[in-house]
């Protein structure tokens, strides 16, 4: 394990990431953030490297973030959008990946609507795979930028109380965060309606509650998740009005939080549904910092996987 690389050659799950890796990524992110403040936002570390963003699920924000990150490192970045299941389009996933492999990319950033997709793609391609979100499973780069944002505000992870609130059942952000935060000594509470809390979630979080007030009380960090309208069709709750009544974060609710509480959201936000406008625009919100940090974190990830000298398989 060299100084400059992650302990694994891929970033698919936060279970791939050790506490030491988190330190490395945080340090590298600080350096990368500085690059993004310069007039000429470019360093040559990944010059001549080909990075393919294979996005099989629509995403403007994450893809743009990865694209900017790659370009600031001087990599050649290619974006491929392939919506939905490639099988239904006629070309099998395997054939698509084989075709990409033949073009000799140095790294693939993969987003898929299907949990576990990066594992199957990893079987067919030798270069590192970075998971940009696979179904409901994980979203490691989001989790890492969340950690960086928290560190900026709170200076240390130790004994922090973090509450993640919303559709936990379908959230890859929640899963990635739960996995890594427990390793870092953070106290995690998850909160949402009973129908959106997965079975055995108490094994992944320290506290589970269906009460917004309880989740926010004493919290140092409150992370709101977006409720998707698709959930309405699944009959998990009656309507958005009820959802909002129970789970919308308002400045009133925040009165119960710990002093210096910060409010986060992976975006895009539904104003008035899970987060009230005064909170979204208020002094507690670090939501836009998350976006800025997102580019820097992704630069750090690409650098550590590709540019950090010898890569080692674990």
């Amino acid at each position: 394990m060299t100084d400059k690389s992650l302990s694994r050659r891929r970033l698919v799950s936060m279970s791939d990431v050790s506490v030491e890796d988190v330190q490395k990524i945080m340090t590298a992110t600080s350096a990368m953030k500085e690059v993004s403040e310069r007039d000429i936002k470019k360093i040559p570390v990944l010059r001549g490297k080909t990075v393919i963003n294979l996005f099989m699920e629509p995403s403007t924000r994450t893809r743009t973030s990865f694209e900017i990150a790659g370009k600031r490192l001087s990599a050649d970045v290619v974006n491929i959008s392939a919506s939905g299941s490639s099988v239904s389009k006629g070309e099998s996933l395997k054939d698509m990946v084989n075709n990409l492999t033949a073009m000799k990319p140095d790294l693939i950033v993969l987003r898929s609507p299907f949990s576990g997709a990066p594992y199957i793609v990893s079987k067919w391609i030798a270069c590192p795979v970075v998971n940009a979100g696979d179904g409901r499973h994980e979203h490691p780069s989001q989790s890492l930028l969340d950690l960086f944002t928290i560190l900026e505000a709170k200076k240390s992870f130790d004994k922090l109380n973090i509450s993640i609130i919303g559709d936990i059942l379908n959230s890859r952000v929640a899963r990635s965060n739960m996995l890594i935060m427990r390793k870092l000594g953070i106290n995690i509470t998850v909160c949402g309606p009973a129908t959106l809390l997965p079975k055995y979630i108490e094994n992944m979080a320290d506290r589970v509650t269906t009460s917004l007030k309880e989740a926010v009380t004493g919290a140092d960090v409150v992370m709101m998740l977006r409720i998707q309208s698709e959930r309405l069709n699944e009959k998990k709750f009656p309507n958005l009005r009820e959802y909002s009544k129970l789970y919308c974060l308002t400045s009133d609710t925040l009165k119960h939080a710990a002093k210096g509480v910060i409010v986060m959201h992976p975006g895009p936000i539904n104003r008035g549904v899970e987060i009230s406008p005064e909170v979204a625009d208020g002094p507690w919100s670090v939501i836009l910092d998350q976006v800025t940090n997102g580019v820097a974190v992704r630069m750090a990830i690409l650098y550590l996987l590709l540019g950090g000298g010898l890569q080692e398989t674990n």
């Binding site: 099998s92 996933l93 576990g116 594992y119 199957i120 696979d134 409901r136 079975k199 979630i201 992944m204």
Partner: protein, 416 residues
Amino acid sequence: MIDPASGVDAVRDVLIDGGEISIIEKNIQAESAKVIDAKGKWVTPGLLDIHVHLREPGYEYKETIETGTHSAAAGGFTSVACMANTSPVNDCASVTDYIKGVAKSKGMVNVFPIGAVTHGLKGESLADIAEMAEAGVVALSDDGHCVMNPSTLRAALEYAGMFGLPVIEHAEDTHLKQNGVMNEGLVSTELGLAGNPRIAEETIIARDVLLAEYTGQHIHFAHVSTAGSVEIIRQAKAHGVKVTAEAAPHHFTLTDEAVRKYDTNAKMAPPLREKGDVDAIKQGLADGAIDCIASDHAPHGIAEKEVEFDNALFGIVGLETALPLSLNLVREGVLTPMRLIETMSLNPARVIGVKRGTLEPGAVADVTIIDPDAEWTVEPSRFKSKGRNTPFAGWKMKGRAVVTIVKGKVVYEFEG
């Protein structure tokens, strides 16, 4: 020789003549006979697998009657009952006749077709049950699908009862299952895969038991996978309801942990469950709550499994691994050799009402010779089945069929 029907577990010579069992005795002198030395091995009635998907007609790229029965023979089975979810569906006599015709000319083992309960497996109108009965189906099943409408199931039980046909239920409430792809549990929560809860199976089993009781007819539950199901069945039997049940080897060997790496060869319906369920199935096989072992052999094309977990088809092959996995139960002390053979020969024969599963003078000479100690490794590329979709690839197995005899002819010999 192990023969559950007569209770004999002893060293015997078996003489086969003209496709029939002729004499069974301690020592037989027969000069012109070909001798198969089965010293140290088990000579049992030919095994029956009553839950097999042969895929013909319509899905010959996955399997044919020829390759499927070859796979059965390699697994030690002399008979299979094949499910109706072919294309066209086996919901009328002409498809039944077609299957029987192909089986007669190309099948390596006995093939007993199972007819659909409803037309096209749609769960709406009853299939041509009387005509299929006449054509020779041994049971009815919409397997692959659950008969969701209880009044349809009631009608099927009553109508099929006129012909002595059991209804085989694939118990899985589609509303509770939704788009579940694996057992709903800790693993599904961690992997972010939609869960198929135990109650999807148990609610249907409870419902169907009541229907069987009310109509006085025979219902058989396919691939029982949960502890709760086993208990409901056990109680139903104690109540005198005409219930029988089968379990598949993967459900008493693997848990949902096998899905950890998103291995699509661990995806089937009903899904792999948890340790408590595995233990309950073993207990059920031991105490009689579960009557048979049946593989639910479900071959698929390679491309159909080489996709994301959500998109992979449900099902794994099982004919060639069923017996060694079941022999593990004997080694673990869960089943006696006699009980194991009973669950794989006499009992399945009784469920589908065929005169097989016994070794007695006059019986059809379907015989399996098992070497319980043979050591071998599972290599999917060497399967006789077209299907390669097994979670047991590379497993070191102990025990297998070494000779399979159908109607007095050796159809399979293990070459090592």
